[in-house]
């Protein structure tokens, strides 16, 4: 009995030692090898999933189609008016640039990546480029529609793990574009809550914020580049005892996760 218990303890200690040494020295290589093997399966399952989910989505969205169409038409008209306004501002801006002899707008150096899979526990995704392609930890990930997706968290040889902006306890600064006065700048701290949920905290109650307003990234803390789309305000909570309001966000990246993404290399 004693001998059996000793053998059992020895096995446990051995397993723990092997796990510790793997975590310390070989984890990245092991993960990279497994991801390379799994890549074709990930791609096929993902494609099939996309097809089936879009098929079911068509059915579920059918009844809301009329109201949504009306809403989109109204939004379209508003956007058209804004485009005219922006065109005028653009011309004015170009003239000012010429006059001040400023260089062209700093452009980002982008690298195209594919989203491969999403982890079960936590808001993390795997992308198709790694250390060999110049990926380093901390680089921001965006979509083609200028939507902020996340930041590179871990780099393997051919793959990288991206921490989504909605990942639990991920904090970054944002700016709210209010409909009331587009020149007014409202800054806040966005905090990821996990499962694609984001909340904005520390915005005084006096600031008028409405549902449906757009939130963009700010670079006060130099965590993400400025001006990338983060999400739309879903819910505003005000309490009598709290000096700040809590705002719930609907992140935009949810729609872009299955698509091609970009990593900003020169941030």
């Amino acid at each position: 009995m004693k001998l059996k218990r000793g053998k059992f303890l020895l096995i446990i200690i051995l397993i723990i030692l092997i796990l510790i040494s793997f975590n310390k020295f070989l984890l990245r290589e092991i993960k990279n090898a497994f991801y390379t093997i799994s890549l074709p399966f990930f791609k096929n399952f993902s494609l099939t999933g996309d097809k089936i989910s879009s098929f079911f989505q068509t059915f579920s969205e059918f009844k809301n189609l009329k109201t949504e169409n009306q809403k989109l038409l109204e939004q379209n008209q508003n956007l058209l008016a804004k485009i005219v306004e922006f065109e005028l501002l653009k011309k004015e801006n170009e003239e000012l640039r010429k006059a001040l002899n400023l260089g062209l707008e700093k452009e980002f150096q982008l690298i195209l990546v594919k989203s491969i899979s999403k982890e079960t526990e936590g808001d993390f995704i795997l992308i198709s480029k790694g250390k060999e392609d110049g990926m380093i930890e901390g680089l921001p990930v965006i979509s083609a529609e200028k939507v902020l997706v996340g930041k590179i968290d871990q780099v393997y040889k051919n793959f990288s793990r991206v921490k989504l902006i909605s990942a639990e306890n991920n904090i970054f600064d944002v700016e709210i574009i209010t409909a009331a006065d587009s020149r007014e700048k409202i800054y806040g701290l966005a905090q990821g809550e996990g499962n694609f949920k984001i909340k904005i905290k520390f915005i005084p109650k006096e600031k008028e914020i409405k549902e449906g307003e757009t939130v963009i990234s700010s670079n006060i803390a130099q965590k993400f580049p400025q001006g990338f789309l983060v999400g739309e305000i879903k819910k505003v909570e005000k309490s009598d005892i709290e000096p700040h309001q809590i705002i719930e966000l609907e992140p935009f990246f949810k729609l872009n996760l299955g698509q091609t993404l970009f990593v900003i290399l020169n941030f």
Partner: protein
């Protein structure tokens, strides 16, 4: 023994399936953990002493494969599943003759335990679990759980084994 080794590639494909296919069908951003469901079923349905060690080893391997495909430390899910397998083995006798309605309740405990365990492993040291997400994951998992159970009963895979269903 050989018939159980087939579970290793099944674990592997379930992980790929849940991380690439099931992601598209997430409810409020929640995806059920199919490996946890299978580990739970494996330890509850297969009840012979001969396979006791094999069940535990398979649970551990399932966890290891999940660790490789997640950002947690290698061994987090593996230890989690191993503890779940040991706990089910220890407390099985209390539920052996009980109604199979105990199944969802026990699964709920296993899911809650795995959340807490991962909180501690990832150095959050918290007993707090987002109740809304937990509830959604539980319902989603139970839905899949009963589908798998139904499939097992139809195919009579575990008919000859001593199990509560």
């Amino acid at each position: 023994m050989n018939e159980f080794l087939i579970l290793i590639p099944i674990f592997y494909f379930l992980i790929i399936f849940q991380q690439s296919f099931l992601v598209k069908f997430s409810i409020f951003g929640v995806i059920p953990n199919l490996v946890l469901i299978l580990v739970f079923l494996l330890n509850f349905l297969v009840k012979t002493d001969r396979e006791k060690n094999l069940r535990m080893i398979l649970s551990f391997i399932g966890g290891l494969l999940l660790d490789i495909h997640s950002g947690l430390l290698l061994g987090s899910w593996a230890l989690n599943f191993l503890i779940i397998a040991i706990l089910i083995d220890k407390f099985y006798q209390f539920f052996e003759k009980s109604n199979f309605l105990w199944f969802p309740i026990l699964f709920c405990f296993c899911l809650y335990f795995s959340k807490i365990f991962l909180n501690f492993i990832s150095l959050k040291y918290s007993f707090n679990v987002n109740l809304f997400s937990f509830f959604i994951e539980l319902l989603y998992s139970l839905f899949l759980f009963f589908i798998i159970l139904f499939a097992l009963r139809i195919t009579n895979i575990y008919k000859s084994k001593k199990s509560p269903i």
